[in-house]
Point group: C2
Amino acid sequence: MRQDEAQGAGTTLASFVAGTTWTDVAGQSHEAKRSILNFFATALGSAHDPAVTAALRVLSPFSGVATSAVIGRPERLDAMGAAFANAVSANLLDFDDTHLDTIIHPAAPVAAPVLALAQARGFSGRDVLTAFILGVEIECRVGNAVSPGHYARGWHITSTCGVFGAAAASGKLLGLSADQISNALGIAASQSAGIVENLSSAAKNVSVGNAARNGLFAALLAAEGYSASPFAIEGSLGWARAMGDEPDLARLTGGLGKTWEIAKNTYKPYPAGIVFHAVIDACFRLRERLGSHIEDIASITVQGSALLLARGDRPVRNERDARVSIHHCAACALLLGAAGITEFSAAMVFRPDLVSWRQKVRAELDGSLPDGAARVVIQLTSGEALSEIVMAAKGSLADPLSDRAIEAKLRDCARLGESDWDIDRIIDGVWRIDTLDDISGLMGVGR
Amino acid sequence: MRQDEAQGAGTTLASFVAGTTWTDVAGQSHEAKRSILNFFATALGSAHDPAVTAALRVLSPFSGVATSAVIGRPERLDAMGAAFANAVSANLLDFDDTHLDTIIHPAAPVAAPVLALAQARGFSGRDVLTAFILGVEIECRVGNAVSPGHYARGWHITSTCGVFGAAAASGKLLGLSADQISNALGIAASQSAGIVENLSSAAKNVSVGNAARNGLFAALLAAEGYSASPFAIEGSLGWARAMGDEPDLARLTGGLGKTWEIAKNTYKPYPAGIVFHAVIDACFRLRERLGSHIEDIASITVQGSALLLARGDRPVRNERDARVSIHHCAACALLLGAAGITEFSAAMVFRPDLVSWRQKVRAELDGSLPDGAARVVIQLTSGEALSEIVMAAKGSLADPLSDRAIEAKLRDCARLGESDWDIDRIIDGVWRIDTLDDISGLMGVGR
């Protein structure tokens, strides 16, 4: 079939987004609320991070009427600026949600523009949930269509696919027609960017923030008549192929409305890369077995898939490296018995005992282990060896965080982020967001 | 050499940019002025295009203090918004300048943020020229390093490489250190986007506008401490390889300060894709030979390289298609003896005689012809055949537009764009821009 006789994937996705109502998505609303709670948790946790503060210094002189909250802070920006800032803070600590099939962190690029726009224009909680669920759906389907090659080739998939989700969600919230949403998705394809090489620097935050901001921008442009190719995603000179992938169209558009990607969302107990969670869990088990003999450890071998090694076998020069370091994760979990925000802060990176423990760790390929699993083998000074294998880490789909654990994570993050926002009101408000006529009450100090 | 022992290309480029002064670039200033004149020409020509007007409707509510002119119009925006809008208008008609080695249109993404920022902060004409020349240098070198595969794979190279030039130029204008400029270039790598599939839609304008806006954004973020990998361009998970290219580092960083890419800039006489210029010139010659026998043409065969066919053998559904259509270019040149803004306007697309003449045109591969050349063979109803071959089109480096021709182009564009800006003041001001203490006088109606 020639391209001009076929229906573009963007058209198919857009028709689905435009035609889906609250009733269609209500069954997914509990998971959506969990995702949004986790989004607030991580955004509050990084609210006063220097990267957020610096972004506000840059964006404030370039903001229109400041309609939308910067989460956890007193400042406001226009909706595009707030979308950028809140996506940055939500993703900054690598502590946000994870769609395991793609390693997309779905909420940051989608919830940020949805909440900023909803606050600016007074949309209801049901509008917000509907747009958010659909945005996550589109973002993860685009990611599915190009995984696993896309991320492996150097594309930061949360950024590159997030912009499609942000465009779909923003378009839905604005009430755009199917044609307009198709154009917004095509415009998103011309804004998709972000590289893995920059993951241990603030440039990573820029691509995540842009995904949120530019998805909203795409929807606003489409509302004013900007057009795009309906084949922008899958065309011969389109997004997927330029990015290096032969897109899997069945995964992009098959079963729309029958399966939901948000049902596969997961939430991290530790502010480290998702593939390191099994390493941390295995180390916790070993620490428990060793009891007071923890100082007898002579060497630590971490075994896992090629993905684990590609992501995590690296020098640690700063806290961003630490959050994606096999060595740092293992050292904290074994030596300190903890792997929270404190253990991945800048102050911990050069703590002498951790530096020395990181040097005991060696990473080793075990091709028989699936992504997300890990085996940790420790050798004691006595010569004795102990090992633990973890196939499904805490927080994974097989062992998900409970609702209460997500609430507790939010409280922890808010405390560490030194926010003065009313946390009880956020927790209560998100759980009953589908009853709110206007979500603005969620977006402020609100004492 | 391991990556952490090498100096990143971004560091090398940034040291060059930070260390280069007006004295070093003064020898390139005449070509820079020609480029900036041509930039004003095409921006004025599209000042009131619906795509620009729609962009302003979107951006106005999201603008901070409106410091910077939208060229050819009464509105102002903040410098990031104006950078977006002016890059859109400068590139909209496919009538802007061309760096033939890469097919980058250098000025739109670089001059737009430089002029917007200079107007906002009162920089001098020499500062503007220095930043502009360096921005073009970086943008084209990045393009050189990944050409010709990059564009062929579906990347809209003006957008994807333009953001690097915009970052370098903005960083230079802001007086950033070499380290900060290196970070700005790395941040640019995480914002590089834009696909060929969208070239015949307004989504193309979005990626060009973003290149300008986001390059400035990268420099502003770097000034506030945002960092990036020094290997963002060439690293194993960096920009070039993610985009699908093995970067040619010699073309990226070899001979810095010895050769100048702006010396290779060219200016179009016709508002069509650069590869169609030889087709138009050949048709003009044939029309002159035929005189009154023009109606005797039975069929038209256009022969050229694979690039010509890939870019131009397409259905014509709108004026964007027309500007990159072999058939439309040949039909206008032969039937009307003209190929100006009027001939590529929306009103011409479905003019019955042009539709019928387009149908007489057939495109044919001649692998022996280099990119940029074309042969046109016409068959008359009598059976007689005539042909013309053009190896170097009007406006190419071998047959460049004169200074006066660029001025005339600017006047034509301003008239067709219905701008009320003082054209004499722009022409005079650009030619003596290196004597201006403040370029703001160039950026307004100024009557």
